[in-house]
Symmetry: C2
Subunit: 432 residues, 2 copies
Amino acid sequence: VAAGDGARLGELLEPMHSADIADLLEQVDSGRRREILLLAPWHFDGEVLSELDETLREEVIAFLPPEVLAEAVRDLDSDDVVDLIEDLEPPQQEAILDALEDADRVAVEQALGYPEYSAGRLMQREVVRAPEHWTVGETIDHMRANKKTLPDQFYHVIVVDPGIRPVGYVTLGKLLSAKRSVPLTDILEDSFRTIPVTQPGAEVAYLFKQYHLISAPVVDEGGRLVGVITIDDAMNVLDEEHEEDYLRLAGVGDTSLSDKVLTTAKGRFPWLMVNLVTANVAASVISQFEATIQQIVLLAVLMPIVASMGGNAGTQSLAVAVRALATRDLTASNTWRVVRREALVGVLNGLAFGAMMGAVVALWFGEPMIGAVIAVALLLTLIGAAVGGVLIPIALERAGVDPAVASGPFVTTITDIVGFFVFLGIATMVLL
Amino acid sequence: VAAGDGARLGELLEPMHSADIADLLEQVDSGRRREILLLAPWHFDGEVLSELDETLREEVIAFLPPEVLAEAVRDLDSDDVVDLIEDLEPPQQEAILDALEDADRVAVEQALGYPEYSAGRLMQREVVRAPEHWTVGETIDHMRANKKTLPDQFYHVIVVDPGIRPVGYVTLGKLLSAKRSVPLTDILEDSFRTIPVTQPGAEVAYLFKQYHLISAPVVDEGGRLVGVITIDDAMNVLDEEHEEDYLRLAGVGDTSLSDKVLTTAKGRFPWLMVNLVTANVAASVISQFEATIQQIVLLAVLMPIVASMGGNAGTQSLAVAVRALATRDLTASNTWRVVRREALVGVLNGLAFGAMMGAVVALWFGEPMIGAVIAVALLLTLIGAAVGGVLIPIALERAGVDPAVASGPFVTTITDIVGFFVFLGIATMVLL
């Protein structure tokens, strides 16, 4: 298709949603992407750019003619422009800012002045507000008169005092169904809460989820209304947080399928490096028992079983604890109960798997004493892994470190060390 | 506080949001929970029950007097009632259904007739609809006249044909700002799309995220409007999906901090069992090389390093691939490109860590030949892990299995087997 026929390509792109056009651009390789962009640049409006993966955005923007770009960003709400340009290089940022009208430009520049990942970056500045003495009728008349300046999507009219400080909000549903003479202050919602402009995005997302908010006004230090955050912004933040936690559990940092090979390799390097160091510590534990292994080689055969069972059990506890900390289900008041519960889970599974593995070694390999050793080692390792898996993230959280970062690889190698030490240590004591 | 003074407890609970009351109940132990419930049952309305963790819900419901329970559920929207009772035991379900008014009861029973996790379970049946020939004025008058039956939260008026089939929707913002004489069909939204009642919840959540939907009408096989799904429902599904994927990567199934110890231990058992089996396979690989280890014990010391590096690199690739499949960034059209990219990442990191570890063994242990062996083994293992980590989830997805399930533990033990085989195999060939 993309073999020269720009008109035909335009016809095909026309009915597509901007999110799907962005996905299409992400999935073809960069040569093909260039062809598509050169053939039909006018289809790549601001919405497509917003949907595009960050790493591709720079590439695509560099290819678009300036007038197409200017046209593209002019229709976007201020929060979308901020999201679009915050990760671009300064010259590209400038080009886009220059394309905006003066008022929008100021708004975007102010937003960029707030810290990254703060409410100030997430909010849109287009808000629909009404003074507290207005009635339903006055509000509706005002909205009809100012139709052009209303944001694309909004769910509440924010009621403000004379200092433009929010005092409550009214849902559009209530506004539509109430009589014209009803004062706004009679139909305010209970769910109202404001968000400080510097609040981190993750906390904003938590508030939306916990209190089922649809939109919330954002206020500056003086309590004055500066913008509004809507649930779709919160949903995006929540989604990104989850994605990050997931990848961190696997020891991967910020990443994207569109990254270059070298960038990706570098991104994965740090955790593998940490793992190399801890694996060497584990190896040095084993080297303490070289004499024992020399005499009973079966121990070398069996020791990875103890280590990998411990690693998996530890990762299980860790994942549960990290999630519980993130959802605030695990707090100071129930820490002790959760740790005790994990320890008991470790005892139960330790007994089960210790008995199984002990029986296998005793019957299959005909080594009842080594069977007894591995049974005890598995029990102790699984208890240690369960307790460690929950205590490590709790300790990190107390120390002010994000527990999601100290994830999989860390716990796995710690349980390796414990597993090797317990198994080979007991074996040396009992068997030699 | 909860030492007998019900009135004081009531005062404390009064200003709290229902989500916070539910969190409070989840964090105290079961004896204290019972005391709170007995002292002030009237504070535990339907919303608190909705917020409560599923495992605690049964316990709490069993404690509430029937009249409190009946009062509690009567105010909820139908989707919240469905969510509340779908996991309860039949006798408790009956008790709650009996407390509902007839119309609500029928609605809830119909919803329970749809498959679990389908759009039919997520939707609320309270919809605001208007015939396609109405004007803005007629619609507003109708809403004012039927104020009592409007849902708590709604964002669109759904425009239907005479067969109650949705043909579009109008945002409340447009409705408020348009002139009374404008026909509804003139202000329909582009973003309109309907959702089949049997569509799985995960796909519904994907649609909301991809197309930035706020609400979407749900239709039966005949295309007739049966309900509406709103963004907060989609956000919950997305959140649950993420949580599930996260825990699965760690080899944990559905779980909750409120589960009993035995339930938790059982929930973690299956993956540990799988791991025990695969670890035994890995052990049997090692046992093939007992003679080699007997002669060079240093190999037993070093082999866990190869295995754990492979396990971590494999988990990294796996996590990236599973996420990319879930967000549909990884599709048939770019599979080959992604696999090649992962292989190259494996080569780069394999060269880096192989060289490092080889140098350590050669210089620190004074064994240059063993150093060369571990360098080559690390390179091959990291390439294999990177490629396997991405191919395994792709293959599972093609086979119709959720790739998130075949997660961490699986890949880790496979890379163990590969790592041991490559390292000990090369060592046997080269060193003996």
